[in-house]
């Protein structure tokens, strides 16, 4: 028995989205590169201040970093390096940005994805319950509760959590943990930031609002009534349009938001992730690091969107059909 998953149109759609993503990433890199060049102040101020004022030496440094060529050439060579996995060296540490990015990027991805899951675990049940309108006051209470959760300032929540777990339960010594002593594998230490960011990233309310609206709309569709009339489960029939699609949409839409929240949480918990790196780089004006982080973040965002497209293409027969027509 064959089911008509139309592979070709889905592939076409995904490929198209992929090319758009590549194009957007290129544009992003051009944009940031130009800002970098147009920004006031010399990027080499670190070296120049420390070292000599001798123009010849400055020229030499410039040549060393390739800053004496035209912007277009600089960009192309930077792009060339990028393709070879070379983001340049950090001004501050002098180490290659790429290696550092990969190291911290994984940590941040764990944090982001983990807290996304926590957020969804809170948001989905509440959205489902309140869309049923079985008990208006329960759903209102739950929604209010979720709104309060998502209004909590994440840094304060972090301190509360740390305080409770260190002072009250003495689960781990707060000050000894962190980047300096290496990444300690302690499950509490591992889970705490994830849960804190999951609760306090401020997107619970929006996810609930979106999901509830979608689910309410789907549950009032004729086909749900028809499914009920024939004795089938309404959840089976509303799952794709009422839950799967809004959840995917929200995941893709909220990834950037949670990445932003990670900056704060990593600061609070000394989590050696991208956010901390970005914070440090912003303080030091470490341009290559900032560039690398931006590109990395943009890639993550587009990966999220790409997976959304794939899910949509598989779920919705109409998109795949349209893809065929286009």
């Amino acid at each position: 028995m064959k089911y008509t998953i139309l592979w070709k149109p889905i592939l076409k759609l995904v490929l198209r989205e992929f090319f758009i993503a590549i194009l957007l990433l290129l544009s992003v890199s051009i944009l940031i590169f130009s800002i970098l060049k147009l920004a006031p102040g010399d990027p080499l101020h670190i070296f120049i201040n420390i070292q000599t004022q001798n123009p010849e030496e400055i020229a030499a440094i410039k040549r060393e970093f390739g800053l004496d060529r035209s912007i277009a050439v600089q960009y192309l060579s930077w792009l060339n390096n990028l393709i070879h996995g070379n983001f340049g060296n950090s001004f501050r540490t002098g180490r290659p940005v790429f290696g550092e990015l990969i190291k911290v990027g994984v940590n941040t991805l764990i944090l982001t994805i983990g807290s996304m899951i926590v957020t969804l675990l809170i948001a989905i049940p509440i959205a489902v319950i309140s869309s049923l309108r079985r008990c208006p006051f329960l759903s209102w209470g739950l929604t209010l509760f979720a709104y309060i959760l998502s209004s909590l300032p994440v840094f304060w929540l972090g301190y509360i959590a740390i305080y409770i777990f260190t002072k009250k339960f003495n689960l781990f010594p707060f000050l000894s943990a962190g980047a300096a002593s290496g990444f300690r594998i302690n499950w509490i230490y591992f889970l705490l930031p994830i849960i804190v960011l999951g609760i306090g990233n401020g997107s619970i309310s929006e996810i609930i609002r979106h999901m509830r609206a979608q689910l309410e709309r789907v549950l009032s569709e004729d086909y749900i009534k028809a499914a009920k009339a024939k004795g089938a489960s309404i959840w089976r029939h509303s799952f794709k349009e009422g839950i799967l699609i809004p959840v995917t949409t929200m995941i893709a839409a909220k990834i950037p938001f949670i990445l932003g929240g990670a900056v704060v949480v990593e600061q609070v918990f000394n989590w050696p992730g991208m956010g901390r790196l970005a914070w440090q780089a912003a303080l030091d004006r470490d341009y290559p690091v900032i560039m690398g982080i931006t590109i990395f973040a943009a890639v993550v965002v587009h990966l999220g969107r790409l997976s959304q497209t794939i899910v949509f293409a598989f779920v919705n027969p109409q998109t795949s059909e349209k893809g065929e027509a286009a």
Binding site: S27, L36, Y147, S150, P153, Q267
Partner: protein, 297 residues
């Protein structure tokens, strides 16, 4: 069962003739009330500042009265430099409000324009606008802000300008999908057939009559987000700098005393953040329900 006989000819009042506060859901009204209270509080902070009604000078250091717990003189106590926390919280709301308004106005204005144009025209215009908006949307907000901080070392207004720009895609896509939805309902075509000007159709029929709720909820959500971003930045040390009070840097300043068991220093501003974000959320939600006519049968 109590039955009410209605005289022949007398009509039961129509939905449209029932005043808005009576047909509204009570819960929505509670939410709106709470939201309005928060807005009023923020606005009143400007008045108190202008009229010098603040209980204490928020910047005045008084080392004699350090770390006092709340009493009748300092309603919310004092911080580690003896500054009155209540005064600092009141003034702290000014750190985000005006800049936040700027960012919301930018986001709404450009978002509405982009959404209307790309939704109404479609085709090439739509593709170009969508591409630009996608470009903005490609980078997480926080990263863009850090980028700007690294490159330009900007003030809070500049940061909020950037926040406004990064919010344009959200507003635009919402407006655009609404326009497309309305187009399906044929009444753009009907307006054209009647001989209405394109300008009237777009601004009057689409924007004024059908997008009010979106605009309002985006404005309130935008405000909530602005608070989040401003406090986060201040907390990270990039936004409003000490000694100028901001809720974010107040929490950050209080964090060291947290582990000495003095919660209040950072909890008071954190509560202010919580209440005001919640206020804007609820205001938006309530107004949305009211304007979207979530009517009961």
């Amino acid at each position: 069962m109590r039955t009410r006989y209605i005289q022949r000819g007398a009509e039961v009042s129509e939905f449209s003739q029932i005043p808005i506060w009576r047909r509204a859901n009570k819960k929505d009204l509670i939410q709106i009330g709470f939201g309005l209270f928060v807005v009023f509080f923020v606005l009143s902070s400007y008045i108190t500042a202008v009229l010098h009604l603040l209980p204490y000078d928020p910047l005045k250091i008084n080392l004699k009265e350090m770390m006092q717990s709340p009493d009748y003189r300092h309603i919310l106590g004092t911080d580690f430099m003896g500054r009155d926390i209540l005064s600092r919280i009141i003034v702290g709301s000014q750190a985000y409000f005006m800049p936040g308004l700027l960012s919301i106005i930018i986001a709404l204005f450009f978002g509405i324009m982009a959404g209307l144009v790309s939704g109404y025209n479609g085709g090439m215009t739509d593709s170009i606008i969508s591409y630009i908006l996608d470009l903005i949307d490609s980078i997480p907000k926080m990263v863009i802000i850090l980028l700007a901080i690294a490159f330009f070392r900007p003030g809070i207004y500049f940061i909020m300008l950037i926040v406004g720009i990064t919010n344009i895609p959200t507003v635009a896509s919402l407006i655009k999908s609404k326009v497309i939805f309305l187009k399906k309902r044929n009444f753009i075509e009907a307006g054209k057939a009647l001989g209405l000007k394109t300008r009237d159709i777009i601004f009057k029929h689409i924007l004024w009559y059908n997008c009010k709720a979106i605009v309002i909820i985006q404005a309130t959500l935008g405000m909530a987000e602005v608070i989040l971003i401003e406090t986060s930045l201040s907390y990270l040390g990039f936004g409003v700098q000490e000694p100028e009070p901001s809720w974010g840097n107040m929490v950050a300043a209080g964090k060291d005393y947290f582990f000495m068991g003095d919660f209040f220093l950072s909890t008071a501003p954190a509560a202010a953040i919580l209440i005001s974000i919640l206020g804007f959320y609820l205001l938006g939600d309530g107004l949305n329900n009211l304007l979207e006519w979530r009517r009961k049968r």
